[in-house]
């Protein structure tokens, strides 16, 4: 940077009111603040959506699920032996056999498809933190029901729910026989993951077996890992250890494509919102062009005094660039505020059946702040530099003559 540029930069920073806060900059500044704010809020909210969804998926599903290769139930002995082997791994946080099957939940004439799930050891069951009313521990004859399922069936805590298990493995000439029992709703959970909150009914293992009419056994073993990202590798090693009569399903098999889709969507939204910054950039082009016309005399005098065109161009770039950078930073603060407001608002909730979760949360990360800053600054810098080419073409003599005329 030349001495002249340093001198002006120092002046702009020392006396911002005199040099930077110009009326002609207002439209440009507002445009940048709004566009960067929206871009920034969009990214923070989508990041929030992505991380909330990932967190809920990882909390709602086992990191690795182990079941029989032929789809049959695993015996009590099998699950005990497998869990004993698996818990020897340092990477394994918990290992619990579960029984899960599809059934119908009913309240008078209201019927909904649901999924009954029970855990051998309740202490490690993942629904515990999400109990919103009632209690997490249940006795025989009691169930815990998802918040949305409860609402759809028009039930409340303490009411009775009828669970109907159609025995598809035993179809008779008279139709599909079913077993059904009434249970008392002892707890309600709300995990935020819509599919679970809309489908899941938790019961004791004994009640589930009675309903299924089976003496013993579990559908699969659910394993939680210390690091969920290790699931694909560990799943392979577990099967090598347990034998190929079992199969392992790491969480990413059923959830990764969804998360990848959300990530793609996040960056698509980012690109679309970046066009807003580009539109604000048109304002920047217009402001810089106006400033050049307004400051023709200044340009003429600097050229007369021997300043090179590129130096004058840089002086203007520094001046407008400083205003633009300040605007981008204010825009980012505005974006954070906007995402905070969206997070706190109560009048709009996401449709859980479409978006999997029903609450909108923002996740503000340093890399995203830097990405917004860099992309917005780059777009605006290009928009500043385009009209500055005019300075090269300005003829001192024409400006002086115009002033005399």
């Amino acid at each position: 940077m030349e001495i002249l540029e340093r001198f002006f930069l120092k002046r702009y920073i020392k006396y911002p009111k005199r040099n930077l806060f110009r009326f002609s900059f207002i439209a440009m500044v507002l445009g940048i603040i709004l566009s960067v704010g929206i871009l920034s809020a969009g990214l923070h909210l989508f990041q929030g959506y992505e991380s909330t969804l990932k967190k809920l998926l990882l909390e709602s599903f086992a990191h690795v699920g182990i079941s029989s290769s032929d789809g049959s139930l695993m015996s009590n002995e099998e699950t005990e032996n497998a869990c004993k082997t698996l818990t020897e791994h340092n990477e394994v946080l918990s290992c619990v056999p579960v029984l899960q099957f599809a059934l119908m939940a009913q309240n008078k004439d209201k019927v909904r498809a649901a999924s009954l799930k029970c855990y051998k050891t309740e202490e490690t069951a993942p629904y515990h933190p999400y109990i919103v009313s009632g209690r997490p521990k249940i006795a025989s004859g009691e169930v815990i029901v998802g918040h949305y399922l409860l609402a759809e069936l028009g039930l409340a805590l303490g009411d009775t729910i009828n669970l109907n298990y159609p025995r598809l493995d035993n179809i008779t000439p008279l139709g599909i026989p079913s077993t059904q029992y009434d249970y008392i709703i002892a707890g309600v959970f709300r995990s935020g993951y819509y599919e679970n909150d809309r489908n899941l009914v938790i019961s004791t293992v004994e009640d589930a077996r009675t309903l299924m009419m089976i003496p013993e056994g579990f559908s699969r073993i659910e394993i939680l890992l210390k690091d969920a990202d290790e699931a694909p590798v560990l799943a392979r090693s577990f099967i090598e250890e347990l034998g190929y009569e079992y199969m392992a399903m790491p969480w990413n098999i059923y959830a990764e494509s969804l998360l990848r889709l959300v990530t793609i969507e996040k960056w698509l939204i980012f690109i679309v919102f970046s066009f807003l910054v580009l539109i604000a950039g048109i304002n920047v082009i217009s402001t810089v062009s106006t400033t050049i016309i307004d400051r023709q005399s200044e340009i003429a005098v600097l050229k007369t005094l021997g300043a090179a065109s590129h130096t004058i161009r840089r002086l203007f770039a520094i001046r407008v660039g400083l205003v633009a950078i300040i605007s981008v930073l204010i825009g980012q603060i505005f974006g954070i505020l906007l995402s905070w407001l969206v997070e706190k608002q109560t009048f709009y909730r996401l449709k859980g059946d479409v978006y999997f979760i029903d609450t909108l949360g923002a996740n503000i990360t340093i890399p995203n702040i830097l990405i917004v800053f860099l992309v917005a600054s780059l777009l605006i810098f290009i928009c500043i530099m385009i009209p500055l080419k005019q300075i090269e073409r300005l003829q001192v003599i024409e400006i002086i003559r115009k002033k005399y005329a």
Binding site: I3, L4, K10, R18, N19, L305, G306, I400, Y404
Partner: protein
Amino acid sequence: MILKASHLSKTYIDSDQRIEVLKDASLEVNAGELICITGKSGCGKSTMLHIMGLLDTPDSGDLIICDKSIQSNSPQASSIRNQELGFVFQFHYLIDDLSATENVALPLLISGINESSAKLRAKELLVLLGLEQRLNRYPNQLSGGEQQRVSLARALANKPKLVLADEPTGNLDPLHSNEVWEMIRKLNHDLNQAFVIVTHDIEASRKATNSYELTDGRLIQLKA
């Protein structure tokens, strides 16, 4: 010899009309000279000065500044304008956002002199021109005469060999006009500073060491 303009010609095309403002105009400027060029409005005085200041290009003719043949589009033109020439215009052309001292320091900063030395030299010049009370004032806080004196100080900042002034008092009332003329004569006398001044003030031009009149595109020497 500081500057030698030989056989300069310049023609403008205005609509269908061809206006020949300079025809074979020649001028030589030596150290310590105070040259005035007079003439009617629109006769080409300013054009002559702009060509000599490397702000405009003649259609034909040669220009030698400090023994170097040069044109306004030469790569060295901006450095010669910065180092060897000083400019004063009818309008002061001071930068509104800079104080008097900072405006005067501009040519020094452009030439690469550090800010503190540039400001020191600017203050010395402003004191020399009687503006010691106006060092930190902005152009809009100065009178017309003061603005033009700041502009004169700026023209002298890099100790140029020649100051080119285009109607320096054209915008001033008689009192301030006289003040500026006195200052120019003082600088010419005390510092041996060479000036070429374009003016329509025939009375003032009589005090110059050399004076010329531009008539029909030709420079006619009135006083040697």
